[in-house]
Symmetry: C2
Subunit: 423 residues, 2 copies
């Protein structure tokens, strides 16, 4: 008997019949002898519809009220799922984030979990019932007001509960069969990974892989929660995110886990910056002061004759206006000539724990891109990742070329896995 935390996203509980299908799955896990905790998101587009209603009422909703509004969505899905499970003859009780003991800080809209005290969940499991918990929400204990965790919040709720309950596994149900070596919509020969390390998953999430959110992986790594990413539309085994080697498995990891891509960034170039100490620092101070996180940075070699240099950096395109406005305001004191803004870039990232110990990975990457006629505009590296910026319209070709160059393409047998996802 195991303690399993399952998480179902909005598309898995989009309507009454989806909820009934999920209920069947939960009931099976319970009848197989497990203790089961289920974390659930709001149904389908509920959250977007609520945001839309708020915008009809006011352009600037107070964040406390916004969080109260948005948490209504999970109340609906969690109680419906509890009813549907009950209807299959299995006891189930639903709990809000507050009732489940999800304690957060007071940053409405993107609160961070600071503690989980799931005594009501433990009691419910001890009674032999399934516990359903609203994802995406917690409580700010200083005011007893509800908070929301922001994007990817339900995955984080699931991992945090799994950690607090010392669950054997946290199953994240999604609409794909697991984590793939690349996005199968771009690379049809992408292979599902049977397992991937926390570090690799972190880099992939940070590099645009959407299957798991970064903070959820961070949480899982910190508390050593094994995460099983799998499809709610099939019974296939998915991808296990963990650092524990599987029994009988070879210690040697494959060099490369996968190729991630990201189309959501933009590039800002600050043109004609005086090449004197402190100017670059001042630029990034100004950008950070506007609440924007930057990703990659390139400083060109200074042209001796002018004493000027160009500095380029990438950032989420949604933050482009904030960053360029802040820089323009500080143009006089920084003393740059002009700003260029480019949101037609793409980022490709090659991720793999094995690349630490294998020389020549970057050479092979650059050769593959060069052979495919793709120009590299920026480069950044970590111990287990190499990222390059290309033109947005050559990104798909770049991903396919690199996927092939690193022997990631599936054999015909393996390719069946994705084709058979039953979506």
């Amino acid at each position: 008997m195991a303690l399993i935390v399952q998480k179902y996203g909005g598309s898995s509980v989009a309507d009454a019949s989806s909820i009934k299908r999920v209920a069947k799955r939960v009931a099976e896990a319970k009848r197989a002898g497990n203790d089961v905790v289920v974390v659930v998101s709001a149904m389908g587009d509920t959250t977007d519809e609520l945001i839309d209603l708020a915008q009809q009422v006011t352009p600037l909703p107070p964040q406390r009220e916004m969080d109260i509004l948005l948490t209504a969505g999970e109340r609906i899905s969690m109680s419906l799922l509890a009813m549907a499970i009950h209807n299959l003859g299995v006891d189930a009780k639903s709990f809000t984030g507050q009732q489940a003991g999800v304690i957060t800080d007071e940053t409405y809209g993107k609160a961070r979990i600071i503690d989980v005290t799931p005594s009501r969940i433990t009691d419910t499991l001890a009674e032999g019932s399934v516990a359903i918990v609203a994802g995406f929400q917690g409580v700010n204990p200083s005011t007893n007001d509800v908070t929301t965790l922001g994007r990817g919040g339900s995955d984080t709720t699931a991992v945090a509960l799994a950690a607090a309950l010392k669950a054997d596994v946290c199953e994240i149900y999604t609409d794909v069969d697991g984590v793939f070596t690349a996005d199968p919509r771009i690379v049809p020969s992408a292979r599902k990974l049977d397992r991937v390390s926390y570090d690799e998953m972190l880099e992939m999430a940070a590099s645009g892989a959407k299957v798991l959110m970064l903070r959820c992986v961070e949480y899982a790594r910190r508390y050593h929660v094994p995460v099983h990413v799998r499809s709610s539309f099939s019974t296939h085994t998915g991808t296990l995110v963990t650092d524990q080697p599987r029994e009988g498995e070879e210690v040697e990891q494959p060099i490369i886990a996968g190729v991630a891509h990201d189309r959501s960034e933009a590039k800002v170039t600050v043109v004609g910056v005086p090449d004197v100490p402190g100017k670059a620092a001042r630029i990034f101070e100004v950008v950070a002061g506007s609440g924007v996180n930057i990703d990659m940075i390139v400083q060109n070699v200074s042209v001796a004759a002018t004493g000027l240099t160009d500095i380029s950096f990438t950032l989420p395109a949604t933050d482009g206006a904030a960053a360029t406005t802040a820089l323009t305001e500080h143009q006089p004191d920084i003393g740059f000539r002009s700003l260029q803004y480019d949101d037609t870039i793409g980022k490709l990232s090659l991720v793999g724990a094995g690349m630490k110990s294998h020389p020549g990975v970057s050479a092979r990457l650059f050769a593959a891109l060069s052979d495919a006629g793709i120009n590299i505009e920026m480069i950044s590296t970590s111990e287990i990742r190499i990222s390059v910026v290309t033109r947005a319209d050559s990104l798909d070709d770049a991903v396919r070329a690199v996927h092939t160059a690193f022997d990631l393409d599936a054999t015909e047998d393996e390719a069946v896995v994705y084709g058979g996802s039953g979506r």
Copy 2:
């Protein structure tokens, strides 16, 4: 400066633009120097839509989960209203029933309020903010689970909060201009009442007047909360429900407050009951045992030759199946011959505190009905009410005839009040 509790029903907050209109009204009351607490129902048909979703998932939803589901509706409307008020430059904070201190028993689906401890509301008013409270819901303190108050629950929430806060008035906003001498859809010359006593309002609510629910009036009477029933679509003064005589007002009340009607009842006749002691009691024991409340009872004079009698009673038509099933099961031990069930009856009730001290009211009522050619099937009376059962299809004529006979018809000037309701 007064402390005002305002309650807005689902039709007053049906969409974003209605919510903005209510917000304007709340902001005006606040800017006029009052402390304002607003109780709000779920938007429009939200509750019905949620019930429908539940029924798609299971035919028999567990009541605890049903209450969690249904309370999502007020979370949405209360936070949107708080946002809309905030947008007008007035601070506003929304609270669930639990946060507002609405403590109930554990009867999910139709919980009774057992205490109200509104310290967060008092604090919010002291800060100078408007407090928005979810109607229809409370908390069961023994489990910390949410409960719903059943039909008319939001009105009851408002009156209970007004009592606990010692509010100067509880304003119930609805889609009509107040309490009328009869339903204006049936009697176009019905007049709006400026004031009505708790006792009269109780009898009218119990007799089918839908403007206020019975339990809300009971609560108001017990705690002496002045209730102002008025339209959210106009600024007209509505009807004040109170026992306090208005300053300078004549002590003498008008004889009759109004004519209520009810089409929701049915009549059961138990035919051929042995006319021996204890048989009637046994019949009503059986009906009560099936959870059904009966209203009027008539026992016919026994026919000496047979030693048998007929007993008729009325009950809510929705309870008809439960009552007749229970009686049929007990036919052997009660020993009646047959059951007749008739759901084509109507009930007319004449209500007025003045009738206690004015003889001849019933004579005048019966004469009016007789002159209009309407047959009376059953009669019951209280100190301030006379009710008669007629055929359903002659009920409207009966209401109009009685309204005219008791001089309740509006003059042309008064009639303008309803016509100008701006609906």
